[in-house]
């Protein structure tokens, strides 16, 4: 079987400065890492792989994104594809999912497409379902665990508001997010990092993936940020350091006065 893992490179910290004229954050000189959620799905995909299965990591990003894909190769991906072209720059979710869907069509043959829960910078878990729609594939979000996979069939436990559901689906399908728990991202050991250098790594541009270029990058963006700003600061609160009984009395008085309770 072939598993494809979509990974994004994101700023290491979200404590970024704004370009006041352009309604966007300044990315120059900001260090980047693999989106935490995407490393998690890659590790989950590695767990269910069997002998003969293949994992391809794919990312749309600038040339620096190569470092994220090299990390994926060190973490167990067999092959990496970087989607890189000036025409891809400034893509919103619509553009990103169109570019990824076009690249997936070029790959053609796959059983499961994995996406992370969301991008930790600006995302909200939309890219996965959008890819699924464009490729006319079933999808699951909020995956708890993959119970069973065989040729053409999968059984997945998903989180619901009441608990869990078991969903059975045909393959191929898109798993758009596995919220992690009990997870520490692993750091690949040096021999795996070295071995990764020898694994296949391809770069595809807009020509390579075909598709409708008017739907890529800034040209194809549908949403526009008209204002980017700091959220209003919360007013400085009152922190009580008295002895417990006195502290509770004080708190109750404040709650009463402010009509909180």
């Amino acid at each position: 079987m072939r598993f494809i893992v979509c990974v994004k490179q994101v700023p290491e910290s979200n404590d970024l400065k704004i370009d006041p004229n352009a309604n966007r954050v300044l990315k120059k000189g900001v260090s980047t890492i693999i989106n935490f959620f995407d490393q998690f799905v890659l590790e989950e995909a590695s767990k269910i792989r069997k002998e003969g299965d293949e994992i391809i990591a794919i990312s749309m990003g600038d040339s620096e994104t190569k470092s994220t894909l090299m990390r994926c190769l060190a973490l167990g991906a067999d092959k990496a594809i970087l989607l890189n072209d000036e025409k891809f720059l400034e893509s919103d979710t619509f553009g990103t999912s169109n570019i990824l869907a076009a690249a997936l069509k070029k790959i053609g043959d796959y059983d499961i497409i994995f996406c992370g829960n969301s991008s930790l910078d600006t995302g909200s878990g939309q890219v996965g379902p959008e890819i699924a729609e464009r490729l006319d594939l079933p999808q699951v979000t909020y995956t708890e665990s993959i119970e069973n996979v065989e040729i053409g069939k999968i059984k997945i436990k998903v989180q619901t508001d009441e608990g869990y559901s078991i969903i059975e689906s045909e393959l191929p399908l898109v798993i758009a997010g596995i919220p992690p728990s009990y997870y520490q991202p692993s750091i690949p050991p040096l021999p795996k990092i070295i071995a990764a250098q020898k694994k296949p790594f391809e770069v595809w541009n807009a020509e390579d993936i075909k598709g409708d270029k008017s739907k890529f990058g800034s040209a194809g963006s549908l949403i526009k940020i008209i204002k980017l700003y700091k959220p209003p600061k919360r007013e400085q609160g009152i922190v009580i350091t008295d002895e417990p009984k006195a502290a509770i009395e004080k708190l109750m008085e404040l709650l009463n006065k402010d009509k909180v309770i």
Binding site: G125, P129, E130, P138, D161, S169, S181, L222, I248, L254
Partner: protein, 333 residues
């Protein structure tokens, strides 16, 4: 684009009731409709939902799109999306609002992709400016807010975070027009099916993102048994119990209670954080709560920077005292 009109609200059901967030979105939709001189319509999909039409006749709604069929008793992305996509193509709304719940977040992007339109997720404010829906959401881990428009395409789509908008007030009864939406789905053609449901939470308890009051515990709680102290406070306040990821990871409480970046984003009237340090990943999930009360033994814990009221001390002493004080206070009211 000129043909697009009306504001649609997708209604989510939970067992035998309408999810509260639906009325919050209707409240906002009515405000937007006034500004843009449009109508508010609701979309009801489910197996036994026509009985709810009555509930919507007190909210100034113009039209109800009703699609009722036993196959819709179980939410499946493929059934719900195919019905909605056809319906939207036929009646071309201008704005389409979904709850930012598990269901809404699964469904809305799928529809946006099919309709080739933009979608803004997890909005905390909506407004109309120059004919566009201005959608506000947090980005960069809550460090910034972004006002977003979708200038070229219609419908304009957003998912709306529960608990941030004012609920629609009931009005005098009207007679919304009901449009029965035909359904044409061959169950044998479906690619997915739900084969089992496992309920782990008490059904009558609201999902954490709809709770008015949340009492949360973190690593500082120390053990599963100690969470009883949190439960007792929650009981008095009729609150939901939340947790930091550290408490979830320790196995003291279920994952569905996790507040934060990789859990649920909540916005209750009152959020009480006990033994939680207040890392950015936790703060993202609760910082917009209306009032925050923090209890932590470390006076330098970052949670005190965002709280409205804080007590420095051992929660094992403070929380039971608070529980008693509140019990007394609430019994007087």
């Amino acid at each position: 684009m000129a043909d697009n009109k009306d504001i649609w609200v997708f209604i989510e059901f939970k067992k035998n009731s309408i999810r509260g967030v639906s009325f919050e979105i209707i409240g906002k939709a009515k405000e937007l409709a006034k500004k843009s001189n449009e109508k508010v319509c609701v979309v009801l999909l489910g197996s036994n939902v026509s009985k709810f039409c009555e509930d919507f006749s007190y909210h100034g709604i113009d039209r109800i799109y009703l699609c009722e069929d036993s196959i819709l008793g179980e939410y499946l992305t493929e059934t719900f999306s195919s019905i909605l996509i056809n319906l939207i193509k036929e009646y071309i709304p201008s704005i389409l609002l979904f709850p930012a719940t598990k269901l809404g977040r699964d469904l809305a992007p799928r529809i946006a992709a099919a309709l080739e339109t933009g979608l803004t997720a997890d909005c905390i404010e909506l407004d109309i400016q120059d004919g566009n829906l201005v959608q506000t959401r947090t980005v960069y881990g809550g460090n910034y807010l972004a006002d977003i428009i979708c200038p070229k395409n219609r419908p304009q789509m957003a998912t709306v975070r529960p608990n941030v908008m004012e609920r629609s007030e009931a009005l005098e009864k009207n007679q919304p027009e009901i449009i029965n939406v035909p359904i044409d789905i061959d169950p044998n053609q479906l690619k997915t099916k739900v084969t089992e449901k496992i309920e782990t939470t008490v059904i009558d308890i609201k999902p954490i993102d709809e709770a008015d009051v949340i009492v949360s515990g973190g690593r500082g709680i120390g053990s599963k048994e100690n969470f009883k102290i949190i439960d007792e406070l929650a009981g008095v306040l009729n609150a939901a119990v939340g947790a930091s990821r550290a408490a979830v990871d320790a196995g003291w409480i279920s994952k569905s209670c996790q507040v934060g970046q990789s859990g649920t984003v909540v916005c209750p009237n009152i959020y009480i954080a006990c033994g939680i340090s207040g890392t950015t990943q936790h703060l993202v999930g609760m910082k917009s709560s209306k009032k925050i009360i923090a209890i932590n033994k470390d006076p330098n814990a970052p949670i005190f920077d965002v709280c409205d009221y804080g007590i420095v001390g051992d929660y094992k002493v403070i929380v039971p005292l608070l529980t008693e004080a509140l019990k007394e206070k609430l019994s007087q009211d």
